[in-house]
């Protein structure tokens, strides 16, 4: 759906992005990960032409963006930024209605869509007439997301969308973000420097350094098959957490014994090991879940542990 073809960009004499190539499939969530100054934001901004590449071409749905009117192009691409970038002189309602206004939508349609988004994003309906500075940081960021989603663009670009929030707010918004139905259909390119965030939200991760792509792949691929030490070191300090977070019960199905228990808590097979462990910690003894064909398995903390260890061995060596 989105394709960057040998795209390069220099600022004065410094090369910010060097011959970057990647493709993002429809509905996929690609995360550009890297330290600051690695070129990830520049790469992102070349997709909606906030920055024009020196070389190479960017296509969306097969169309070269360089041939399109940049304003029209941007109105069709959602954009969320780190410090929300809300217009201080517009109310929340007016902020959200920015793109519909540019697209000359009917007022009622805008109104309906705004109300819908506010409720989906857990924002109070009466905040519509408030000004951005009257909301909390987390709420402002949700408004920023609503503004990007209002015209239902098929592509969403996000530049460190949770970067300015405190850790608690950040975790809860991330959770909501994951659960948001509206986002599941969208092709998303997101920039972050937070490894956990990347692993939690990404379908694929594109790890960058000094303007170049070092490795691009699923979280599992990066974690278990890093192509070099740089990739390995990048994740090293958080490896255990990441492993628990990206592995789901479904992944462990084959390693778990066929046990059934009647008084177990039922969960979804997509639940991460991290979250499953949290259940056990909070006092649950047994957890049961079903696979795609409806077969049930029940586990306790010991069976989970041994299954996870043998899964890890398989990933690393098999």
């Amino acid at each position: 759906m989105i394709r960057l073809d040998q795209v390069s960009k220099s600022f004065k004499d410094t090369a910010a992005v060097k011959s970057v190539f990647f493709e993002v499939n429809e509905g996929e969530n690609l995360i550009l990960l890297g330290t600051s100054g690695c070129g990830k934001t520049t790469t992102l901004k070349m997709i909606n032409r906030l920055i024009e590449p020196d070389e190479g071409k960017v296509t969306i749905n097969g169309k070269n963006v360089a041939n399109e009117n940049p304003e029209i192009l941007r109105r069709g691409i959602g954009y969320v930024m780190q410090n929300n970038g809300l217009f201080p002189h517009y109310t929340i309602g007016e902020n959200i209605a920015t793109v519909p206004q540019l697209l000359k939508w009917d007022k009622n349609k805008t109104q309906e869509r705004t109300t819908e988004l506010l409720s989906k994003l857990h924002l109070p309906a009466d905040c519509i007439s408030l000004f951005p500075h009257e909301l909390s940081g987390g709420q402002q960021q949700r408004v920023g997301l609503a503004r990007a989603l209002v015209a239902d663009p098929s592509v969403l670009l996000m530049d460190e969308p949770f970067g300015a929030l405190d850790n608690v707010t950040r975790a809860s918004i991330r959770k909501e973000f994951k659960a948001l139905e509206e986002l599941k259909r969208k092709t998303i390119v997101m920039v972050t420097h937070d490894v956990q965030e990347a692993f939690e939200l990404a379908d694929r991760i594109c790890l960058m350094d000094k303007g170049e792509i070092i490795q691009i792949g699923t979280p599992q691929e990066l974690l278990y098959h890093p192509i070099n030490d740089f990739v390995n070191n990048f994740m090293e300090s958080e490896r255990i957490t990441l492993e628990f977070k990206i592995t789901t019960l479904k992944d462990l199905w084959n390693k778990l014994p066929d046990e059934q228990s009647s008084n177990a808590k039922t969960v979804d097979q997509q639940l991460s090991i991290w979250d499953t462990l949290n259940y056990f910690r909070s006092g649950v003894d047994k957890i049961s879940f079903a696979d795609d064909s409806g077969r049930q398995k029940s586990i306790d903390i010991n069976t989970l542990n041994s299954a996870f260890i043998s899964y890890q061995n398989l990933q690393q060596h098999g």
């Binding site: 906030l50 304003e71 954009y79 410090n83 970038g85 002189h89 793109v99």
Partner: protein, 523 residues
């Protein structure tokens, strides 16, 4: 102290027509220039916010323009734009530019780059970003600039009366020249009130809610234009010739009032400063002016004096007037000052004035040349026996006289001299003398009589026919009332006179004030 207050009120109600007219002119000047300044400054501010490289030089130029003294700026304008509304509006416009450009620039540059990027990323065009995001967010800052400019303009617009552009300055400067406190206050109080009220109004607008404000914004230029249009309203009268009189002349019995009363002269009159009047007449911007009979520019600009056939201009013999206390303190002073007595005739004075006004020689050089020629010059003794403070009014002749007295005192006595020249008008000069800020200055018998003593018309008539009786009268009254002594007259009579271009006077066969009045009645 109730009486003067009442008098002010009386003066204001008597002159309410003029006052209203001047207030409207003042508002008009302020807002026309403000409107133009916004029309120029706002786009310029936006431009330099876009092209930051230009900002340094543009702001520097606007800043330099702002530092030019207002009177000087008005002076620069005359050769380019003549006199009247045009140069005044341009000068005010120049003063208003800096705050408007600077605040527009600062307002726009101060917007966070994230907000600008968000606007761009949402798909706004450059113009939409400017109109929907940058200008609305910068508006409180821009308005603060307009507010500053408004207050500056209300103040500077008082000076517009110097170049015949009207406004409340006519009363203020007329009052200063005429020693008429009520007249000064009648101009100064409304001017101050205008500044305060406009400032407060703009402060309210500045703090207004963004939303109400957006609609109000469109009304803004319209309001400015309407207020500006005030200026154009009171311009209905006219005559075939145009007179330019100084504010002082306008309010004097031996000036405009006498011309109306004794001659029945009805002429379209504008008020203008002495500094630019002669040139304006020469350049045919004016036809009749109220000059001084010994003014050097009479010769320089080839003007001719209209004969005062009904004798309304009393004699103006110049003589130094000195504090009696100073004469005691400096016993040698009187005899030194009298060295000049009888030495300068009308034609000599006109010639001396011509050298400074037209040949641009310094008053110092003119004074020295004259003293040397008349064997009066002696090298300064470098005296340390006390300091004598000489005052002078703000025109060339007074500078020359002050210089001559300085050289005479320094050459003939052991006193040192401090000159306080360029005191703006009779009242300021005279107040400086009575308040012991200066020891003496050259004054004219007619001025002493009319501006300072203000005798009733009977006495006035009885003494003004003859130069000696005028001198006797003022000298006696000054001694009794103010403890100030009139020394011996210097010799020349620098009286008021109506003047025209020599050629025009010939062409129209207007040689006296009576023939001027007859000509005006016919045409």
């Amino acid at each position: 102290m109730d009486e003067p207050q009442q008098n002010l009120w009386q003066f204001m109600s008597e002159q309410s027509d003029k006052l209203l007219n001047q207030t409207f002119q003042h508002l008009g000047l302020t807002f026309i220039s403000l409107f133009l300044a916004v029309a120029i400054g706002l786009p310029l501010g936006i431009l330099i916010a876009r092209k930051r490289k230009l900002s340094g030089s543009v702001l520097a130029v606007a800043g330099i323009l702002q530092t030019i003294p207002s009177i000087a700026l008005l002076g620069f304008m005359i050769p380019l734009l003549g006199i009247g509304a045009k140069p005044a509006i341009v000068a005010l416009l120049i003063y208003a530019l800096l705050p408007i450009i600077r605040n527009t620039y600062t307002g726009i540059v101060g917007i966070s780059s994230e907000v600008k990027e968000a606007a761009k990323a949402m798909g706004m065009s450059e113009m939409q970003i400017l109109l929907k995001v940058e200008l609305p967010i910068a508006m409180p800052v821009i308005l603060a600039g307009i507010r500053t400019a408004t207050v500056i303009n209300v103040g500077v617009a008082t000076l517009a009366s110097y170049i015949a552009a009207g406004g409340l300055g006519e009363f203020i400067f007329g009052g200063i020249s005429l020693n008429n406190t009520n007249m000064i206050l009648a101009g100064a109080i409304p001017a101050a009130l205008l500044a305060i009220i406009l400032d407060a109004l703009l402060a309210v607008i500045q703090k207004m809610d963004f939303k109400k404000f957006r609609k109000f914004l469109y009304a803004f230029p319209i309001v400015f234009l309407i207020l500006g249009a005030f200026y154009l309203l009171p311009k209905a009268y006219g005559s075939s010739l145009t007179a330019g009189f100084t504010p002082e002349f306008m309010g004097r019995q031996d000036g405009d009032l006498g011309l109306k009363k004794e001659y029945g002269l009805k002429i379209h009159t504008i008020v203008i400063s002495d500094a630019v009047m002669y040139k304006a007449a020469y350049e045919k911007k004016l036809d009749v002016i109220s000059g001084y009979s010994t003014d050097g520019r009479l010769k320089a600009f080839d003007l001719t004096i209209l004969k005062d056939d009904k004798g309304i201009f009393p004699p103006y013999y110049a003589a130094p007037i000195v504090r009696e206390s100073s004469l005691k303190k400096f016993p040698d002073l009187e005899s030194v000052l009298n060295l000049l007595s009888g030495k300068i005739t009308d034609s000599i004075m006109t010639d001396l004035n011509y050298r400074t006004d037209y040949l641009k020689q310094t008053p110092e050089r003119v004074a020295k040349d004259f003293l040397i020629k008349n064997d009066l010059y002696k090298s300064p003794r470098g005296g340390k026996n006390g300091v004598i403070r000489i005052g002078s009014k703000i025109f060339g002749e007074q500078y020359i006289l002050a210089e001559m007295y300085r050289m005479l005192i320094q050459g003939n006595t052991d006193y040192d001299v401090a000159t306080k020249t360029g005191l703006g008008g009779t009242k300021i000069c005279f107040d400086a003398l009575t308040n012991d800020q200066i020891d003496f200055y050259p004054e004219y018998t007619g001025t002493g009589l009319l501006v300072l003593l203000k005798p009733d018309p009977k006495i006035f008539k009885s003494i003004t026919h003859d130069k000696d009786s005028t001198y006797q009268y003022v000298s006696k009254q000054f001694s009794e009332q103010f403890k100030i002594k009139w020394l011996k007259p210097i010799g020349f009579n620098n009286s008021y006179a109506l003047m025209m271009r020599r050629k025009q006077s010939k062409d129209l066969a207007v040689i006296s004030i009576t023939t001027l009045q007859q000509y005006l009645d016919k045409n």
